[in-house]
């Protein structure tokens, strides 16, 4: 730490004591400051530390200083002056602390703090620690008395260390398993509540929240069209292009239509749409509910006697159940279009040939299966997203974790369910 030690002529206006001449500055080395402390007993040391702070700052005009003078009665006195505030102390807190410790080693020394202009908790603490956490003989301005009143003779106890648990791994696995169980339980409860709400609405159709539903269909469906088109188109092209290379080597060019038809309509279309919607709308649903928890809007709804599931969750679930199959169809259409363009380019399959052959190679059951999966995935994504949203605790960390978990969980669930459906319906729509 750089430190300037002024000679007394330069720094001490009205300084008592003899002129010591410039001495070596105690640097960062601890031994140097010890040496200072020892020799300080003989000579009146005069050391000033300049603060390097903001220009025009009051604190830099009166930096914290401490100097040792010998009174006419032969007793040593430490003169402390300047601005003893955190900002001014910061550049040389360590060096000052060492020097003060050196001064404090002499138990008979008197401390004169009357030259201190301002003293804050940090300044008081620095002096207090240098004094060995007890009050020496000290002259103090009355307004600075209070700063020392709160300081305790005992250092603040260190925070308790977290105990290391040798079974942490096992505990962690168990905890995760239990968490999974509680998630499943809560999702089942939420789904059941939604069914009850839906039945209630069926009995009172005038209470159906049409506005929320249509707003959600617009937000999750209509606004997702461009991104789904882009992704679907590119995936169609890539799939067609890669397959074309393989098929051409067997001379089975025409089978590109079967491959694209079944692959996209039965599997890729619903999957792509579900993944995009989970990332796009699922996360926003979780975040929305989470922020409503943070801002206590959920509680406000509850105390108004308005059901959270009826007003917030059900419209989202219904909206995605409507929007998702439509998005699946849209995705199918665009991906097939991309595939068709690439097939013409790579294999010379004409558009007319493609469009005429497609219906005969693709049993319509595949379309129903794809659209049905769309409805199911939509409901799953919305329920999972809302479940995580309602679980969020009112802090930012939980909001971030909840949103991530919601997206991961909904995409994973969609893929698992898709695999199960693939097995269950393996004899449907394929020949």
């Amino acid at each position: 730490m750089p430190m300037n030690e002024d000679s007394s002529g330069e720094s001490a206006a009205g300084a008592a004591g003899t002129r010591p001449g410039a001495r070596a500055a105690p640097g960062a080395a601890g031994s140097a400051s010890d040496a200072t402390a020892g020799s300080a007993a003989q000579a009146a040391a005069d050391a000033t530390v300049r603060a390097t702070t903001l220009a025009g700052d009051d604190a830099s005009a009166h930096p914290p200083r401490a100097r040792r003078v010998v009174d006419p009665d032969g007793r040593a006195r430490i003169q402390v002056s300047g601005q003893w505030v955190l900002r001014a102390l910061l550049p040389q807190a360590a060096a000052l602390h060492r020097r003060l410790m050196g001064y404090a080693r002499d138990a008979g020394v008197r401390w004169d703090l009357q030259g201190v202009q301002t003293l804050d908790a940090a300044g008081a603490l620095l002096l207090w620690r240098s004094w060995g956490r007890r009050r020496p003989q000290v002259l103090l301005r009355p307004e600075h008395e209070a700063a020392f009143a709160d300081l305790s003779p005992e250092p603040a106890p260190p925070p308790p260390r977290p105990v290391h648990d040798p079974l942490a791994l096992v505990v962690g696995i168990g905890r995760n398993a239990l968490a999974l169980g509680s998630h499943l339980q809560q999702i089942v409860l939420l789904s059941g509540q939604l069914v009850f709400d839906a039945l209630r609405l069926a009995r009172n159709p005038q209470r159906v929240p049409w506005r929320e539903i249509s707003a959600n269909v617009y937000r999750t469906g209509a606004q997702a069209l461009p991104i789904i088109a882009l992704v679907g188109f590119l995936v169609g092209i890539v799939l067609s292009y890669l397959s074309a290379k393989q098929l051409a080597s067997y001379g089975a060019n025409i089978y590109i239509i079967n491959l694209l038809g079944v692959g996209i309509v039965r599997e890729l279309g619903p999957m792509l749409a579900a993944i995009l919607v989970a990332g796009r709308s699922g996360s926003s649903m979780t975040a929305q509910l989470g922020v409503m928890r943070v801002t206590e809007e959920l509680d406000a709804l509850t105390v108004m006697g308005i059901s959270q599931t009826l007003r917030l969750v059900l419209p989202k679930v219904l909206a995605l159940a409507i929007a998702m199959p439509l998005l699946v169809l849209w995705c199918n259409f665009i991906a097939l279009l991309g595939g068709m363009l690439a097939a013409k380019q790579e294999l010379g399959v004409t558009y007319r040939q493609f469009l005429q052959t497609l219906p005969s190679t693709l049993p319509v059951a595949n379309l129903w299966l794809g659209v049905g999966k769309g409805v199911l995935f939509g409901v799953l994504i919305a329920v999972i997203a809302c479940h995580y949203g309602l679980r969020i605790k009112p802090n930012t960390e939980s909001l971030a974790a909840g949103t991530t978990d919601a997206v991961v969980a909904s995409i994973t669930t969609v893929i698992l369910v898709d695999a199960a459906i693939a097995i269950i319906f393996s004899s449907v729509g394929l020949r």
Binding site: L54, G56, D57, V85, L86, R87, L90, A93, T118, L119, D120, A121, A122, L125, R129, E143, H144, A146, A147, D150, L151, P155, A156, P158, P159, V294, K393, P394, N395, T396, E397
Partner: protein, 269 residues
């Protein structure tokens, strides 16, 4: 720059679309004083406070804090400047993911110059200052009561021992006992540190106990700025209704008596 003004705002005009919130406001906050900002809801108190903090930018006008203009100075100068301020937000604005201790320690850690044990002791001092017990230091903000959130937020605002303290509704949500303690704390800090305080408040008791000068925001302007006993006499509907029933308490001698009493009662306690 007039040297006595810690905050020097000139010609502040704020527009939101077609709505004019402030029209050509001049405000000077002098070193060491407690300046209170009052006004009816919607008069732009919080907007003005945000502009003084440099959080939003007025449509026209300049604001200098410690002589440094908020607009048009370098990020670094602004950051250094801001270390000399403490801000108590109305809702506390504690970092919800950090414990009480970490919230208060954050500005100290950010300096990257203090050893951990010094930080710990400073944090504990600040928490003791606002009467938060050690057991609560490891709690998260969500586990605290509203009043405690406010006190922890004050401890955080004071962590760097600022020269300038902004308080947005400091005593709202505190019980009378705490609110008196809060007032005494501010009083003590400004005595020790020559603290300058800018506060927005609705509480007449806080005004009587603390405010050196009061600025009244109404009709898009600062209609009057002055000591409480002068402001109460200002002929304006808002001022009349604000101090309704309190006018006699706001005479200069009574305020002086009240404050002396406050200091003595705290000392006795």
């Amino acid at each position: 720059m007039s040297s006595s003004c810690i905050i020097d705002a000139r010609g502040i005009t704020t527009r939101f679309g077609a709505t004019v919130v402030h029209r050509d406001i001049d405000l000077c906050v002098r070193t060491g004083e407690v300046m209170a900002l009052i006004g009816e809801s919607g008069s732009g108190k919080t907007t003005l406070l945000r502009e003084l903090l440099g959080l939003s930018r007025p449509s026209a006008g300049t604001i200098r804090v410690f002589g440094v203009p908020l607009q048009g100075c370098s990020e670094e100068a602004l950051a250094l400047n801001r270390r000399r301020w403490g801000v108590l937000f109305q809702e506390g604005a504690l970092f919800s993911a950090l414990s009480v201790y970490d919230n208060v320690a954050l500005p100290l850690h950010e300096l990257r110059a203090l050893p951990e044990d010094v930080v710990r002791e400073l944090v504990m001092l600040k928490l003791a200052l606002v009467e938060i017990d050690t057991a609560s230091a490891s709690k998260l903000p969500a586990q605290l009561s509203g009043g405690m959130v406010k006190r922890v937020a004050l401890a955080r605002a004071l962590a760097l021992d600022p020269e300038l303290l902004f308080l947005d509704e400091p005593t709202a949500g505190l019980d009378p006992e705490r609110s008196a303690g809060f007032v005494a704390l501010i009083e003590r800090l400004r005595r020790e540190l020559n603290l300058t305080v800018v506060m927005v408040t609705h509480d007449v008791d806080t005004l009587i106990a603390l405010a050196d000068r009061v600025a009244v925001l109404a009709d898009q302007r600062l209609i009057t700025v002055g000591p409480l006993w002068d402001v109460v006499k200002f002929p304006h509907d808002f001022v009349r209704s604000f101090f309704l029933g309190h006018t006699s308490r706001c005479e200069q001698e009574k305020i002086d008596d009240f404050r002396r009493g406050l200091v003595q009662s705290r000392r006795a306690a």
